[in-house]
Amino acid sequence: MRSVFLCLALAGCARPIGVLSVNQLLEAGRPREAWVALQQELDPEDPNPRLLAMHQAALLHAGGDFAGSEAAFLRAEAAPGYEALPVEAEVVARLRATNQLALKQDPTAFIAALPQVALDTPTPARGVLVVVFERGLAPRARISYPEGSKARQVTIIRDTREVPAHLQLDDGPMSPAKQIDNVAPRWEDQLRARIEQNTSLGQKLGLDPFAAMREVLSQPATWWTAPIEWYVDQRALPAGRHVVTVTTAAGRRSRVVEVPAGKQVFVVVPQ
């Protein structure tokens, strides 16, 4: 009987069964599908092709398609539109270096991505496994005009999910990796400053109702699909094949990694 009610209640539900929203896909650790869904949601006449390419680059990177991500970053570089915040430009450079690291296993790419981390030195009999974890989503801003007030309110929307950055090596216990950088506070400050800078005095005083309407309808464009936190875990290991198990929003997955003697091997684990 409950099904009858459910049937009636769900009759207007347009989304097909098994098809998730962009946010649901991101929460479930499905970034490449999120990119496809995001494309469908966006206006084809979007005036911001650069931001669109940046979203694509971040989501393909998160999905482990490092070559695709690099191609999208190149498109973003050439496209007109969105002007990146200083922190966003910094993250673009880091993600591109990480793409190179994953594709070419080149230690100089690691240094370019995370210069604050000193790489452990391998020995002739041992290699070093370096795991780079990325976590979180960049902040978004929402502008509203609370009821009964002409004053504008800027709300920063943070990613509050708790996704672990854990590494298990062979049968070894799970260890949390060390956090290297969290750009979220800087990002939020710069985002807020940009919104303030682009606001006319009339808007600030609540005297320009059309500007308010325009703002609420469009909302500030941000590169919210980029990661904000970086973690690194380094282990010196006997040369040979090892099982690396990492936990992401998509779940726990293991893979066999060949650690060569006298070399570093890099594993990039996007969110």
Binding site: R2, C7, I17, A28, G29, V36
Partner: protein, 411 residues
């Protein structure tokens, strides 16, 4: 009103209990790696009682399967297959009096045949395993042919349908095809094996981009099969697996490790939204890998967890409800209103029964099916395979040019 309440309490006294809640301690034993103790506890709780015979048979079959008692597991699962098929017939009297039974989802039925095929493979009854392979084929072919009917039923039950591009992925279990292929390969039917493996690859390609499943470990073997049997699909396969080389025939045999990981998700009442939510079962933290001439990580080829969490509660309704049943209930619903308050107790009972029924599931079914393939020289080998509580040592005998199948559990 007083009469109605009295009648309600009498009718509710005859209602079904919540199987999953009552059997929680029994299922906990399976999760602790004690399937035989769980089986005994289940028998003690259910023998001579009115508990749902299908749910009991499914649990018995899965527990015996996990315990390696293949013959008894096959008997229990055969009983479950018969019951599941009988229940597809919607009875007006059962619907009227709130006695509609628990029904299985398509992918659960295919998992049932896959487990049954494994039982027969482990018993050395390859012909029986091939029969199960044919049943998987039959179910999947029928689903393919009945796409429009499935879509109509989904619309009737939930108001929307599965995305047509993703329908094969949601309805047809890749692992079912994989086990069918292994069974056919063991029986010497290499063309049949190729067709099933190829179908598994086709289903995999239809999966959503980030589905946590893969078949790369099969690629060298499948390319070799395509070359050896001069299959016209070879060029297509080479495009699917660029850069992968066909395995080179040698004097080796092949070990196929089938790993059943975790436990199927279930519908859990979410108090915040006052509705059921499909929730994955909590899983152990240890990594799942085998030591066969070095570490080997089995690839997940089918994830019931992924299917269930993607489809959510609407998917579960499609699995458990049938459009004929909804149609009958819609008519009855208005009939009950006309006959109020006499029909009130029946309405309460039906509401309770359907709520409880939709929350039941095959809890001992694995969450994921994974496969590893390793070529080994003929002879006896000591290998370590995953277990629910850590790796387990096994001895396997590899025969030249043959496929040897072993099973394992993972957290």
């Amino acid at each position: 009103m007083r009469t109605a309440l009295l009648l309600s309490s009498l009718l509710l006294a005859g209602c079904s209990g919540h199987y999953l809640s009552t059997m929680r301690p029994v299922h906990a034993l399976v999760e602790e790696g004690k399937p035989l103790e769980a089986y005994e506890a289940l028998k003690a709780k259910t023998d001579g009682t009115e508990w749902d015979k299908l749910l009991v048979a499914l649990d018995e079959g899965a527990m015996l399967h996990r315990a390696g008692r293949w013959k008894e597991s096959a008997d229990a699962l055969n009983q479950a297959i018969d019951l599941a098929d009988q229940r597809e017939t919607v009875s007006i009297s059962e619907e009227t009096f709130g006695r509609a039974p628990f029904r299985m989802a398509n992918h659960e039925k295919q998992a049932l045949h896959a487990l049954q095929a494994i039982n027969y493979l482990m018993l050395g009854q390859t012909d029986e395993a091939v029969v199960e392979a044919r049943l998987t084929d039959l179910r999947q072919t029928r689903l393919e042919a009945d796409k429009e009917r499935s879509a109509a039923s989904e619309t009737f039950v939930t108001g929307s349908t599965v995305d047509e591009k993703q329908r094969p992925f949601f309805e047809q279990l890749v692992f079912g095809r994989y086990v069918s292929a292994v069974a056919r390969e063991r029986s010497g039917d290499l063309d049949g094996a190729f067709i099933d493996y190829f179908r598994a690859v086709t289903l995999m390609r239809g999966a959503p981009l980030d589905a946590q499943i893969e078949l790369t470990g099969l690629a060298p073997h499948l390319l070799w099969l395509a070359e050896a049997r001069e299959r016209p699909e070879l060029a297509e396969l080479k495009a699917v697996f660029p850069g992968v080389k066909a395995e080179v025939p040698s004097g080796d045999g092949e070990l196929v490790l089938l790993v059943e990981q975790g436990f199927a998700p279930r519908a859990v009442l979410d108090e915040t939204i006052r509705a059921y939510r499909v929730t994955p079962a909590i899983r152990g933290q240890q990594p799942v890998y085998a030591m066969i001439d070095g570490p080997v990580v089995p690839e997940v080829v089918s994830s019931l967890e992924e299917l269930a969490t993607r489809r959510g509660y609407r998917g579960l309704l499609v699995d458990r409800e049938r459009s004929a049943s909804i149609a009958i209930n819609t008519v009855l619903f208005f009939g009950y209103f006309v006959l109020m308050p006499v029909a009130l107790p029946l309405l309460i009972k039906k509401g309770y029964e359907s709520t409880v029924r939709d929350a039941q599931s095959w809890a001992t079914l694995p969450a994921e099916f994974a496969v590893a393939r390793v070529r080994l020289p003929p002879g006896k080998h000591k290998v370590k395979v995953p277990g629910l509580l850590g790796q387990v040592e096994r001895e396997v005998e590899i025969v030249k040019g043959q496929v040897t199948v072993i099973t394992a559990e993972g957290p």
